[in-house]
């Protein structure tokens, strides 16, 4: 990669003894190490570290004022796709301008300078590289397969326009935040905690979730983990496989970069068509011929690798030189501005993505077809909503939720009780896959907590004050946010069915007055002993569906009190009671 010495330019290998002598070509000594590709590596490390840091502060004791969802909020695909689906730009999504502007000026710099997922792919490819130079050059030639990402982008954008937001399946930031939350962070914490248990107490300072009472678990973590291994492992077969083939954000930035003002420019009077520029080309963007602007990651490896100094990153280079070349390149008589043209290839740039117009039409047709396939699956349809699709407090009604949720799972990451889980196919269908649902066998919605609404970048969970969640102050009229309603299964309840005192549910019920009451009864048991049984019942007007009763119920495998989504206040059609009906 960039660490390799500049080949063929006559420079000595960097020695371990620092020498301040100038280079043979007259450039100062620091040009040996202070190369643009090294600056790029530093930038990549910085942004990767920032990404991990922001994930680690997505936790109550560390959140302070950090913009925990920064990477998601500067992701222009997130803001553009949600603007298509909701016709609005939520809260801080305008921050995408910070990425849009550099892309319009410089091209896809994000991909190879800042994207943490791109860095992970590049690092993996570099670490396990066993190819020789010739093989690497072949692997980095452009292939038509790389159109796939544009087809996926088109599909996702048409779906978004219809109201089904699916970019989060493959958007690299959403995908990586989700992978960290669901698979990597629990794994890292497991390792660090066991190291700390072995006496290495410093390890406990590094855990992502300090003071989490239990190791965190997530539904389907194995699958998210397997996807990580598969997608990152694919770099061994095709370098930057995800970035080149699948990444919809890369495709989006690729479309935008057709207007970029700077690009890699090849000087045909110097280029000998040796193809060494392809050796480290991350984007497979054909720098040896007509540069594919939409594919170029601006990694600058080609400039580094060119033995003839024929490549440079230039402002507004000529779009076409064939008209300016005099003579014929075939018989070697061609000249440009009076200099002999050495390269046989006179193409200099391909502006737009290499997707034929009929493919774009196919893409749009696929999107229009996919929408009804997704939405008219029963689980996410108004008519057949799933009783366990219980959304976090502050969530908008289901159809709007699916217009907004990007499955990034930041809400899962910040949730202190681990109640938020990535929805499985069985609960939310393909459309709602990995969106947040509450599983009260794992945790419960803590009464005084609104952290998930704080970190949600797209407003699927709207920023909700505690007053609003609890129905206090100005919200007293509307009442509290209800997530669902709790029900008793009297056949499994200890006082109702087993002559055994219990009512943990009533003790932990956080509303005041309590939503769980008891019928108290002095009872003679089968063995003749007298017991006081407090048989619990629900007061549905008071229940907010927080699920702590279900979490604490001693019938742990299939609780005797359980919450379902009916009665949730986010959707006026899903109320349970006639009385107390309030507009959400």
């Amino acid at each position: 990669m960039s660490a390799s010495p500049k080949s063929g330019s006559g420079l000595p290998l960097p020695s371990f003894r620092p020498s301040l002598a100038p280079n043979p070509d007259g450039s100062p000594w620091w040009a040996r190490t202070f190369r643009i590709t090294n600056v790029r590596v530093v930038s990549q490390l910085f942004f990767f570290a920032l990404f991990v840091f922001l994930l680690s502060v997505t936790w109550l004791s560390r959140l302070k004022g950090y913009p925990a969802s920064l990477f998601l909020e500067v992701d222009p695909l997130v803001s553009f796709a949600t603007a298509l689906s909701t016709h609005t730009v939520y809260r801080r999504l305008w921050w995408a301008l910070f990425l849009l502007v550099p892309t319009l000026l410089l091209g896809r710099v994000f991909c190879n300078w800042a994207c943490p997922y791109g860095t992970l792919h590049q690092f993996t490819g570099w670490l396990f590289n066993i190819r020789n130079n010739k093989n690497r050059i072949d692997q980095n030639r452009y292939r038509p397969l790389y159109q796939t990402k544009y087809v996926l982008l088109g599909l996702f954008l048409v779906l978004a326009l219809c109201g089904a937001l699916q970019i989060g399946l493959l958007d690299p930031i959403c995908l990586l935040v989700r992978t960290f939350t669901v698979a990597i962070i629990p794994a890292v914490d497991l390792g660090l905690v066991s190291l700390a248990g072995q006496g290495l107490s410093a390890a406990s300072n590094l855990v992502f979730k300090p003071a989490a009472p239990e190791p965190r678990v997530f539904a389907g973590a194995w699958f998210v983990g397997a996807l990580l291994v598969g997608l990152v492992g694919a770099n061994l077969l095709v370098p930057r496989f995800f970035c080149r083939v699948l990444c919809p954000l890369g495709a989006f930035l690729g479309v935008l970069s057709r207007w970029s003002l700077w690009r890699i420019d090849r000087d045909v009077t110097k280029c000998t068509d040796c193809d060494l520029c392809l050796k480290g080309c991350e984007g497979a963007s054909d720098p040896q011929g007509a540069l594919r602007k939409s594919e170029c990651f601006v990694c600058f490896n080609c400039i580094d690798d060119c033995p003839e100094d024929a490549l440079s990153f230039r402002f507004n280079p000529l779009p076409s030189i064939s008209r300016l070349v005099k003579g014929s390149p075939k018989d070697g008589t061609a000249t440009l501005h009076g200099l002999p043209v050495i390269s046989k290839n006179l193409g200099v740039e391909v502006k737009a993505p290499d997707v034929p117009r009929r493919r774009w039409i196919l893409t749009a047709a696929l999107g229009v077809l996919a929408y009804p396939f997704l939405r008219y699956s029963k689980d996410v349809n108004r008519r057949g909503f799933h009783p366990k699709a219980i959304r976090p407090p502050g969530s908008v009604a289901e159809s709007e939720f699916l217009e907004r949720c990007i499955k990034c799972d930041q809400c899962l990451n910040v949730c202190p009780t681990n109640v938020l889980q990535p929805a499985r196919l069985a609960v939310a269908g393909l459309e709602g896959l990995w969106t947040p649902v509450m599983d009260f066998s794992v945790g419960f919605c803590q009464l005084n907590c609104t952290l998930c609404s704080e970190v949600c970048p797209t407003g699927a969970i709207q920023k909700t004050s505690l007053e609003k969640k609890l129905g206090l102050g100005a919200f007293a009229e509307v009442g509290p946010v209800r997530l669902g309603t709790a029900f008793f299964d009297r056949g499994r309840c200890l006082p109702w069915a087993m002559e055994t005192p219990c009512v943990v549910c009533e003790e932990v019920c956080p509303t005041t007055p309590k939503a769980i009451g008891t019928y108290d009864e002095v009872f003679t048991r089968w063995d003749g002993k007298s017991v006081t049984l407090n048989k619990p019942y629900m007061r549905p007007e008071l229940c907010i569906g927080c699920g702590i009763c279900q979490k604490e119920c001693p019938v742990i495998d299939d609780a005797a009190v359980y919450v379902t989504a009916v009665g949730e206040t986010r959707d006026g059609d899903r109320t349970l009671l006639l009385t107390g009906k309030k507009s959400a």
């Binding site: 109550l60 003071a211 009512v503 509303t511 005041t512 309590k514 407090n534």
Partner: protein, 336 residues
């Protein structure tokens, strides 16, 4: 020829070595070195280690003359606590230079302090300072709440108060628990115990609010030890009085502070509304937690005349205290 023979001998050696090695580790009797033999599966089972607290608990030597119950009424928490502790012998009777003191507040729920569901952070801080002034080398504050620990400690204000007063707060994580043996206990003879903050501890002081409780009627200093346990605590309600009597047996503190600055008189143990709370303006220090709790029942929850909850009698039957607080030596002080 020579090379072929050498290769054959090497291969034979490798085969023989591996089979003999495998045969040894799987067949050698279990006492032998490197033996893995396990004919009935017993050897392969996990073997948990368990621990015990000191035989006499953390109590100091009893005194024949000093009051068991010091009751201070007033508004200044520091002065009240000092007066109440002075009444039972003063802090120097309990905490000596170099002691490592564990203070156990009740931080079970994520409620702000005025809602009365948790120990008053001012009282916790005053207690920490008192121990510090008495020369404690280290003061630790620990509880295993029902709701998310970090959030409970933060919202109740106990985290900040405890740290500012000079103690270290221990939040429970899964690896902090060890099996505790409590001989004679009915239900919790072996139960996971929040062990990490107890390492090296020489004195234990409980500081519990006065709370109504849906099932056991009243949650005060004895019920407070619930927060030192882990595991399947949600089974405790099946015999809550038996459990509280077990808790009294499990942990015998140096002394307890009953925090009657506020009284959660209904909707306990969670509360949630200021209308569930009334001013108590009282702090009790006691070497007898049953007496302190009975005082709280009569005077703070104002349930005098009602039958005491069953756990008092069960614990008293084990000789763990005197629910009839009037028969003990009580000193009441008005502060300011």
């Amino acid at each position: 020829m020579n090379e072929d023979r050498r290769r054959l001998l090497k291969q034979l050696g490798a085969v023989a070595g591996l089979s003999l090695g495998a045969g040894y580790v799987s067949l050698a009797p279990s006492g032998w070195p490197l033996s893995l033999k396990d004919p009935d599966g017993e050897r392969g089972k996990p073997r948990g280690t368990s621990l015990r607290l000191p035989e006499k608990g953390f109590a100091v030597d009893p005194s024949g003359v000093l009051p068991h119950l010091g009751v201070a009424r007033g508004a200044n928490v520091d002065a009240m606590l000092k007066a109440a502790v002075d009444a039972i012998g003063g802090i120097h009777r309990f905490v000596k230079t170099g002691d490592v003191v564990l203070v156990k507040p009740n931080v079970a729920f994520e409620r702000s302090a005025p809602l009365g569901a948790t120990s008053n952070p001012e009282v916790v801080a005053a207690l920490v300072r008192l121990c510090r002034e008495a020369g404690a080398a280290e003061v630790r504050v620990a509880d295993n709440p029902i709701e998310s620990p970090a959030a409970c400690f933060a919202r109740s204000g106990v985290q900040r108060a405890a740290v500012d007063a000079g103690s270290e707060v221990y939040l429970p994580t899964a690896s902090d628990f060890r099996m505790l043996e409590t001989p004679g206990a009915t239900h919790i003879a072996r139960w996971p115990f929040f062990w990490r903050p107890f390492q090296g501890v020489t004195k234990v002081i409980g500081v519990a609010p006065v709370k109504d409780h849906n099932l056991c009627r009243a949650s005060m200093t004895t019920k407070n030890w619930y927060g030192l346990l882990g595991g399947r605590r949600n089974q405790f309600h099946q015999d809550i009085h038996g459990i509280i009597a077990d808790l009294a047996l499990m942990l015998r503190p140096t002394f307890v502070v009953l925090d009657g600055t506020r009284v959660l008189w209904r909707s306990g143990p969670t509360g949630g509304s200021l209308s569930d709370v009334k001013e108590g303006r009282t702090l009790i220090a006691s070497t007898d937690s049953l007496a302190a709790d009975a005082f709280g029942w009569d005077e703070l929850l104002e349930r005098k005349g009602e039958l005491l909850p069953a756990y008092f009698e069960k614990a008293a039957a084990r000789g763990l205290g005197t629910p009839d607080w009037r028969s003990t030596n009580v000193r009441e002080i008005q502060v300011g």
